[in-house]
């Protein structure tokens, strides 16, 4: 394969030159008129900090935020997968009421802005749930104990546990609508003959779904579900609005305290990009390998 530069023609050079000129101008404006003082050298310290008293490295706010984002995304996607599968099955149900309920949920979520949805879920659902289960006191008790590294590995700072949980619930409820549509499409892509064959050997509707339709449908929807997982990681930034201390929230905090607007946001953007782009490359490679086998 020829290298990228070998394949460039004069229009490519022209476009590249224009881009360089444009960004150069933006750079110049910031430098000249904003009088902005770049302090890139401080950013690494906010990722991994060094505690002089204890003489040890520790994960500083940006890395803490990234860890929280990853944790929340994983839990939320598992919950969203469960809820979404139920929703997708409900959308294909024989029962009209069940079908209509699922449809209503979906249409509400599709036609209300995500930010509004997040606030509504937060105040009406997850907050009530956390109060009802008295999660705040339960997690504070754990936070007081010693040797809780396992808890912290899974949930970070235990004093923030209720907030993480409500973040996970809100995000999962929001994404479940989209997972539900993917699952429904998967179920409906299974040929009618499969259901008829299942029925003709005497299976009940539930058995037909469980042993014949769902296993095939779920296999087919792995690629779109993987993409939805990447969307979920990006969407997780919304829950910073309900004070869940994930990457976006931590960046807002950092900007407020240090005034490193550009550096902090560019770093955060890079974090999101690396995680999402990396996953998307990984998934497409796995999928190619899977196709190679089949």
């Amino acid at each position: 394969m020829r290298s990228f530069i070998d394949r460039m023609r004069w229009p490519d050079y022209l476009i590249v030159a224009m881009l360089i000129a444009f960004f150069g101008y933006v750079w110049f404006t910031i430098e000249g008129t904003l009088n902005y003082k770049w302090r890139w050298e401080l950013i690494p310290g906010y990722i991994i900090g060094y505690h002089t008293g204890r003489e040890a490295y520790f994960a500083n706010i940006l890395l803490q935020g990234l860890a929280a984002t990853i944790r929340i995304s994983i839990y939320a996607s598992i919950l969203a997968l469960v809820l979404g599968t139920i929703l997708g099955v409900a959308r294909c149900s024989q029962n009209l009421t069940i079908r209509m309920l699922a449809r209503t949920y979906l249409e509400l979520l599709r036609n209300i802005p995500p930010v509004v949805v997040v606030f509504i879920f937060f105040f009406f659902l997850s907050q009530q749930l956390i109060d009802a289960l008295d999660l705040a006191r339960w997690s504070r008790n754990i936070a007081r104990q010693e040797d809780i590294w396992l808890w912290e590995l899974f949930f970070g700072d235990m004093r923030r546990f209720p907030s993480i949980i409500s973040g996970v619930i809100v995000l999962a409820l929001f994404e479940s609508a989209f997972v539900g549509e993917i699952v429904r499409a998967g179920i409906q892509s299974i040929p009618k003959g499969q259901r008829e064959a299942a029925r003709s050997i005497g299976m009940s509707r539930l058995q037909e779904l469980r042993y014949i339709v769902l296993p095939q449908a779920m296999k087919r929807v792995v690629p779109p579900l993987a993409n939805q997982f990447i969307s979920l990681i990006k969407d997780s930034s919304i829950i910073s609005l309900i004070s869940v201390q994930e990457l976006t929230y931590k960046t807002v905090e950092l900007v407020a305290s240090s005034r490193m607007i550009f550096e902090a946001w560019i770093t955060t953007a890079a974090f999101y990009f690396v995680v999402c782009f990396g996953l998307s490359r990984l998934f497409s490679r796995l999928e190619r390998r899977r196709e190679g086998q089949a």
């Binding site: 499969q194 064959a197 003709s200 050997i201 005497g202 058995q207 042993y211 296999k219």
Partner: protein
Amino acid sequence: MDSQPIIEARNLDKFFGKFHALKDVSISVRQGERVVVCGPSGSGKSTLIRCFNALESHSSGTLVVDGIEVFEGSKDVRKLRQEVGMVFQQFNLFPHLTVLENLMIGPMKVRKVSRDQAERTARTYLDRVHIPEQAEKYPAQLSGGQQQRVAIARSLCMETRIMLFDEPTSALDPEMINEVLDVMVELAETGMTMVVVTHEMGFARKVADTMVFMEEGRIVEVAPPDQFFTAPASDRCRMFLAQILEH
């Protein structure tokens, strides 16, 4: 041969929306009888046998299969289907399961047979359809003829009393038709009650006790094969036979 009817249909009508698919169809099938249903496409043959295991529900008339009255919303539908096997034109094997699992899933999940017992039964019937060596493969790795034989074995594993065949050889390449028909002939020799929708007249002549000719949703002619092939009573039937026997 037992003269007791195992399928008894009286004045069946079936509508798909406005389309009148079955018109006042009455037919009875005795235990152990082999019935071959033929007729031009769209004549309602498939619809009729799909009513027999309640994959379609008839709009009016009465249908009793193996002592169970079939009607829309009946709670006995699952019981009925355990006694009535069905082989489809498109095989409809479960692609995510191996051949053996395809045969075992019905007995295990529906009849609640143990895994060992289900596997023994499955291997017996795979032998019967002459492909014991394909047990561990997936359906997509088999030829069409082999897939259809697995589908027959899958129905047999449910130990049904009646077998319905919905154009079992129509989706097959010509060189594979015979291997499937051979299995069906052998099955007929065991005394199984069979209702077969097919255009394979050689097969019909060999195994059928009764020939049924349908056209436009009606049963036009019912006759034993020697009479049916040599002296059909209706013109339409004669024309149809002339068309398909010409080649």
